[in-house]
Point group: C2
Chain length 792, copies 2
Amino acid sequence: MIYTYIFRKKVKELVDNEFYKIVQKLNLEYEFLSGNFGLEKENVRVNELGKLALTPHPAVFGNKLTHPFITTDFSESQIEMITPMFQTLEESFHFLENIHHIVTLELNDEYLWPQSNPPMLPEEEKIPIAKYDDSKKGKEAEIYREKLAVGYGKKKQMISGIHYNFSFQEEFLMKIYKEQNTNKTYKQFKNDIYLQISRHILKYRWLLIYLFGASPGVHSSYNKECIEMMEKLDQESSYFVYASSFRNGVCGYRNERELNVSYHSVDEYVKDIKKLINDGKIQSVKEYYSPVRLKSKSCSDLLTSLEYDGVDYLELRILDLNPFLTVGVDLNTLYFVHLFILFGLFKQEVNKNEHSQMIPLINHELTASLGRKHNLKLFKSVHEVVSIHEWGIEILDEMLTFISTLGIKKQYFQQIINNAKYKFKHPEKSTSSLILEAIREKSFIQFHMDKAKQYLNISKSKSYNLLGYEDMELSTQILLKDSIKKGIHFEILDRNDNFIVLKNEMKKEYIKQATKTSLDSYSTIQMMENKLVTKKVLIEQGINAPIGQHYLTMDEALSSFNQFSGMGIVIKPKSTNFGLGITILKNDYSLASYKRAVELAFHHDNSILIEQFINGKEYRFFVIKDEVVGILHRVPANVTGDGISSIRNLVHEKNKNPLRGQGYRTPLEKIKLGENEETFLSSQGLNFQSIPKIGEIVYLRENSNISTGGDSIDFTDVIPRSYKDIAVSAAKTVSATICGVDMIIKDHHSQNLKENYSIIELNFNPAIHIHCYPYKGEDRKLGEKLLEVLGF
Amino acid sequence: MIYTYIFRKKVKELVDNEFYKIVQKLNLEYEFLSGNFGLEKENVRVNELGKLALTPHPAVFGNKLTHPFITTDFSESQIEMITPMFQTLEESFHFLENIHHIVTLELNDEYLWPQSNPPMLPEEEKIPIAKYDDSKKGKEAEIYREKLAVGYGKKKQMISGIHYNFSFQEEFLMKIYKEQNTNKTYKQFKNDIYLQISRHILKYRWLLIYLFGASPGVHSSYNKECIEMMEKLDQESSYFVYASSFRNGVCGYRNERELNVSYHSVDEYVKDIKKLINDGKIQSVKEYYSPVRLKSKSCSDLLTSLEYDGVDYLELRILDLNPFLTVGVDLNTLYFVHLFILFGLFKQEVNKNEHSQMIPLINHELTASLGRKHNLKLFKSVHEVVSIHEWGIEILDEMLTFISTLGIKKQYFQQIINNAKYKFKHPEKSTSSLILEAIREKSFIQFHMDKAKQYLNISKSKSYNLLGYEDMELSTQILLKDSIKKGIHFEILDRNDNFIVLKNEMKKEYIKQATKTSLDSYSTIQMMENKLVTKKVLIEQGINAPIGQHYLTMDEALSSFNQFSGMGIVIKPKSTNFGLGITILKNDYSLASYKRAVELAFHHDNSILIEQFINGKEYRFFVIKDEVVGILHRVPANVTGDGISSIRNLVHEKNKNPLRGQGYRTPLEKIKLGENEETFLSSQGLNFQSIPKIGEIVYLRENSNISTGGDSIDFTDVIPRSYKDIAVSAAKTVSATICGVDMIIKDHHSQNLKENYSIIELNFNPAIHIHCYPYKGEDRKLGEKLLEVLGF
């Protein structure tokens, strides 16, 4: 009874907050829980032994100064990954994952080091500062880093972490502002919101450090004066025994001395930072390494922009890379931080004007270096100390109270908070504790390198997917992935339609299904779509296509008998239906059999086609402009015998290939052991239990579709140049820039080109993924090639 | 019995012809009856009184030197119409009809004179020679005509006629050649075929003159020395009493003296003509006015080309304009000539080497000037005369024998020959005779002007159709018609698809459904096709579109309540079905009613749309590039009362408009008096018998579709510039060159633009015919404008 009373009282007190009350009143919870979310993280590159890689930043990522997603931080070996702002955390997180995978797969025999604290470092002078081009900006970037190297030492600058950018959506803040009866300007109102959140975070940041600290140990190649302060963790690393986050601690990544900057108003914040710069304590606002920073729209002149335009978003800099997680962070962590931010608008501030940041700083230091110490006391105020575990649980309970007022995602959020409570109750289950345990088991380098290698395999296994976009066509996913790689912004306009827009400062390109672009005109598309027209223009240009005619009457068809003399022909109803009414006549057929075939076809439709019969293998040529960028041949579902395994087992084995899946979400489909396959095998006197000889190829299907387990085989380097030239010419007959040319070739070794090929179709929306993830052969990097021809 | 015997003998003798025997043997009758057919005709322009028009050639037809279809002959007032070569006579004839209608409709208060002999001519010097531009070719053309004026007098040059170009298809001749065991070259073989036909035509040309002669009388303003030779026909015209064709006679359009040119071989033909030119008897080969001329591929150097490449086709120049026929000729006439040509390969030549052309010439003269004289005798040989009627019927019977050997179109051809026989049996029913009768009844000028005016009305009544292409979309027909007008060649690639190609020497343009062209990129089309994307880009560019959202869950939809506050909205299932599940909420609705509407919509689909409700009238803006070229508003089927007629009668009256038809082949549809209309009237307390007051508008439908009898009303000049600018900007958001912008406008008089319009759709395949043939308003000539933007 007493408990209930207290609980109620607390709720009352806590919700006595104007902002949150308006959210509730206007039923704006959905918008309150939305926002703009951006993530940044650094990882240093290492070689297989866990030594800092001394190679240059991968050239494929282009210009470090302009790439919006992938660049370098302090060191040439320190990759920085940046997501755009998204309206949901999921999108932002998936984007970070995607950058991570893309980067991982572009490293040659190198790995992303999954720990905030540096790997095995060389001597100070051998650590490479990031190199830029000769532009003014490039020079400035290098000079800035050289000064940092002098001021902090290069080793400290190698510490990496995660930054979390947040703002509310503008329309939402505007609605709250309008409802609030205030004589503040909108700018003041908005600044006050973000300042309140910042003060809240600063005050309770120790809680984040405890929960998400993941850098308890450091390699002994780190700065000697630091290592000497610490205990040995294993042969190669050291630690503060109760530390949760070395990175956030005294030897971590921070300003050399404590900097006093007010978060009472934006004006004071700006004034204080300007003073630090004037006094030569920091080079620029970038060097103000606070756990929370106020950000404005302009990066180049942040302070002026803050003064004039107000706060645009907040940057939280407290999260360590968590080596247990592939990309160093997970969605639950990000949600926790988001709730923690919102909680700052729910929890009433005791004393808004409390300027001193001394107590929060002490709590920060204590948690970073001693957080897991049993019964560690933190300062609630100058006069009051409390156990970290007790206080942690108290705050988390308040967060649960806050969450209980929400209507959306309540249970999910509660689970997140309860997990956090568990870590306060069981310090030995905290992330930092688990990391120490793992290091002790394997050694500092071994543990992290094992993880790095494991994460490389994860990147590889998902290489054809873009996370968060798996419901889209593979071709579109590839194009988006390559856009990220090349630093092109994108937006999904219609997911179901695979409709996207790519953009940089120079241009916008609207694209549907990866290959429907502005490069081809509508009439080009129409020509390819109409098979009669395609053939007409091909033949007109002297390119082989099955000669054929369309007949509306028996008389016309019969009178054309002589026209086809000497060639094999296919006679078929115009609309074919399960192959009914089709006759193939190969050479030397009589007028009588021709007549029977024509009659049969007319029996099934009132117009018929008579076409040249073409013998040979079918190849898909992917043409971009003047070049064939990929050639693919499809083979029906098959297995190759080993003399021991049954067909059933060979299929199971073949289906383990990660490229094979189900439901067209993978580059290849799993081979089925169904009725069709059974029938086809039995026609060869085989069944699923038959054991093929070593090297014997057994086909399970007649048709070569990928969708029924067929193999795609890259022939790009095999087919001679002369056929490629024909494919390019064929695309040009319809003025196509992007074109899938389907060509039948009798024998690509033959010298007699003219009699050896025929083009049976031109496709205006050719898939690109089949050329990027063939069953056999190379990734032809069609996404990159498309982006290039699109002018990106 | 005797008759049968003779008949059999004849057949035997006649089919003793190698060429025709091979046709039969190879079963190539279909190809034998095919060919390449081209037509040319001249008509002089006259004013309403039947006087030669002295105005310039209509500027709309561009450059006379380069226009392939519409140019001038000798005189500025003498329009020459030329069809391309077609594989069927039907196509060729329809094309001629189309040019005729197009020309007719471009004349301002002038008419095409439907008679080969000239209308009322001014004095010799006042007849305008065709004017050309200042180019070398233009100058040459004028000088050539000036010499003709001196050589023949201008009046003679005003005589007009029809030329008929024919050749076999090359593949067909090649097949015959290959089968024939000959040591001739292919060129020799082909030349011999065309020479044989030419000799045949020359020999029997009197038959064509008799049958198709249609210029028995001539206006007295013609050359005095001719008129003086003749009898008075009426107050204003003269004639040779038994003449069938003045044009083909002594005073007609022919060389000044008889020119002897051999048709024995091409070499001799060329040699003889060269001699005539060298001797100064004719200026050039063009001036050799023979009834049949050998033609080659090159027009500019015909004789050399004839020698080197051989005969390409034949030109028959014997046909008069028949004033009883709209365009001066009909398909049956053309078929007769075709059969007559083919007959030349069937009928064995008695004496191939018979050089003399004297007897055929005498027969020609006799028939032209005395053809209808009872029992007129012609010369079968120097030694044998025979009555024209007897001989005519004899030849026609031979043609019937020839036709009896054919399998295709036999009955139709027999009918044509039998009609000709009838004209030999009844000279008073010959065309020339009927014309004289009509002239006597009305006067020379009156008869022909009545016909000219009647033919103008025929041109008007079919103005939206292109003959021979009526099965295609009206928009495509308009584009093709304007192509003819502008002298652009076209080809139909796929009729069902309305897929065409336009071409001149400079470029080719593939076009589907009139507005699917190379001017718009595929991504532009995709953007317009996707309504979500269209809206997104419009709104992004600050253009009004119904604000809306797509919701997949009830929660999302409900949480957006505030977002729509203050605006009327439509809540609907994403896929609407007969309007089920749609709610319109106008202003000040409660959360409860919003929720009910959302629930209702979700009841019908698993995703819903909530969109701003837009009030006003809908207009279609047709944008080409930077310009709005047409604005149309549709009104539901309606009638306007006259105080006397019932609704039923008003509908009948309104349906008489030639623009109204049935089945979407006309610009407007007839208003129906069906169940829907009855129901809608009864909801207004009316029925089909009700009599609306004078000026009262009664609607018979709620929907404004043209397909249910709606009216299209042109607003192009009514809607203010500012809305046009918006439409152009809207098209630009998707980079469209051709775009149908559907805009709702509350009140186009309002100054408050921003709140007064909304764009609900962008169309990538807007119809053009609705802007060319509106119920009310001007023809906005969209076909011409499209051709212009296409670069023609």
